[in-house]
Symmetry: C2
Subunit: 253 residues, 2 copies
């Protein structure tokens, strides 16, 4: 875990340090948004996915940073007054609460642009990497629109709001590590099911009354098994991705 | 002109038609944002830049659509209540006035994602194309932050708010058409100066009292000459780019 984290934090620092000198306030606010204490689960998935197909974790370093930048832009915009109107995230002021609403809008926009620029620094398969990042960045917004519209279709919303960025992380990592097409399909299946399991677990932890606990535990079992099965076809070191899926299952039962 | 426009409109329609079925409202609002009557100057610059380096205009078709999608996302977000609070653009309701503020935020976010996914469909040099699009998409936001902060540094704001997307259009088009490094530098010089001339002209047409007419006309002359000079080094058909720069100069004098 720590092997991944120190690489990710170092690369994110380098990315922010190499932004232009102006406007300082924007770049400070962007760094604030990205450094308020996330677990970096998506970038870790990206790097471990490169290893799972036989690549090096370093191959996926820029795609890993890209998915974290993109994830954080979605949080900055979700928190805005016209959306969830949240003033705190992880115990700290949200970007709009700290820097104002116009700057928070622009911080999110800038983080999305920086995410794509960063993903393009991958050592290979840049066309495929940008294609999946673009597709899933659009998917997250589609999920958010349906969530606001309260369509009641939880699986659609879970797939797009949560699993889409897990899929983008895994596929970008795999492509950066030199994956072939069947390996990419396995990573997609893994990440979709991991993302769904992750979201079902959140439902239980939130205990928000909407969910049927027994039914949800069964779904966590099914999706986790599907995620683990997908890993079996991969040629590289899948131990980290495996432990990630197993940890989800055992935290609740 | 019409040769470019029919290709661009056809490709934009194809892009919107191939979005997923859901959520219909989001995709309708995205198409509305992009089809409210823009002049398509940036995508035309992209296609003409491919021709200017000896490529085909079709090579730059997806980068051309990408820059138009990106430009329109910036307009959708600029119009929001927390920014310029505009209810009309080109005589029609702005996206937030028509679809509400949350959806307008998400329409902008989705258009930016779609812009990058579209640029990645270029036939060659995708890494360089995404790098310049990412850099200049960030630059536009930087310009907007300084504009809001009223730093008074007009050249910084003009360079980033206007010229950056002209540069991205020209460089993406050149890269898609197979340009080499010196040709890319010439396209950058051309587009920077064209963008500045374009913005100076706007100042005069707006006649907003801030500008010194004589001084501004002199700047239009200088930047237009620099733009035309940069074209002389290019090996392909520069006639359209040349006429574009000359038209700017002659509209005012």
């Amino acid at each position: 875990m720590q092997r991944y984290l120190s690489l990710i934090e170092g690369a994110l620092s380098e990315i922010f340090d190499s932004l232009p000198a102006r406007p300082k306030k924007l770049h400070e606010a962007m760094a604030y948004a990205v450094n308020v204490g996330g677990k970096r689960i998506r970038p870790i998935i990206a790097m471990a996915s490169s290893e799972a197909v036989g690549g090096k974790k370093e191959d996926a370093l820029y795609p890993a940073c890209a998915i974290e930048l993109l994830h954080n832009y979605t949080l900055v915009h979700d928190d805005l007054p016209s959306m969830d109107n949240d003033t705190l995230r992880r115990g700290k002021p949200t970007v709009w609460a700290k820097y104002g609403e116009p700057d928070a809008l622009l911080v999110g926009d800038a983080l999305q642009a920086l995410a794509f620029a960063t993903a393009a620094r991958a050592p290979r398969n840049v066309q495929g990497i940008i294609a999946i990042l673009g597709e899933k960045a659009l998917g997250v917004v589609e999920g958010q629109v349906e969530d606001i519209a309260a369509s009641g279709d939880a699986d659609y919303i879970y797939t797009h709001k949560t699993a889409d960025l897990f899929i983008a992380a895994a596929v970008m990592g795999g492509l950066a590590g030199g994956a072939n097409e069947p390996q990419i399909e396995s990573l997609k299946t893994f990440a979709l099911n991991l993302g769904l399991a992750f979201q079902y677990e959140d439902d239980i932890l939130d205990n928000d009354g909407v969910c049927d606990r027994e039914e949800t535990l069964k779904r966590i079992e099914t999706t986790t098994s599907a995620a683990l099965k997908a890993l079996e076809t991969l040629p590289g070191d899948t131990s980290f991705l495996k432990s990630l899926a197993e940890k989800l299952k055992t935290r609740l039962v």
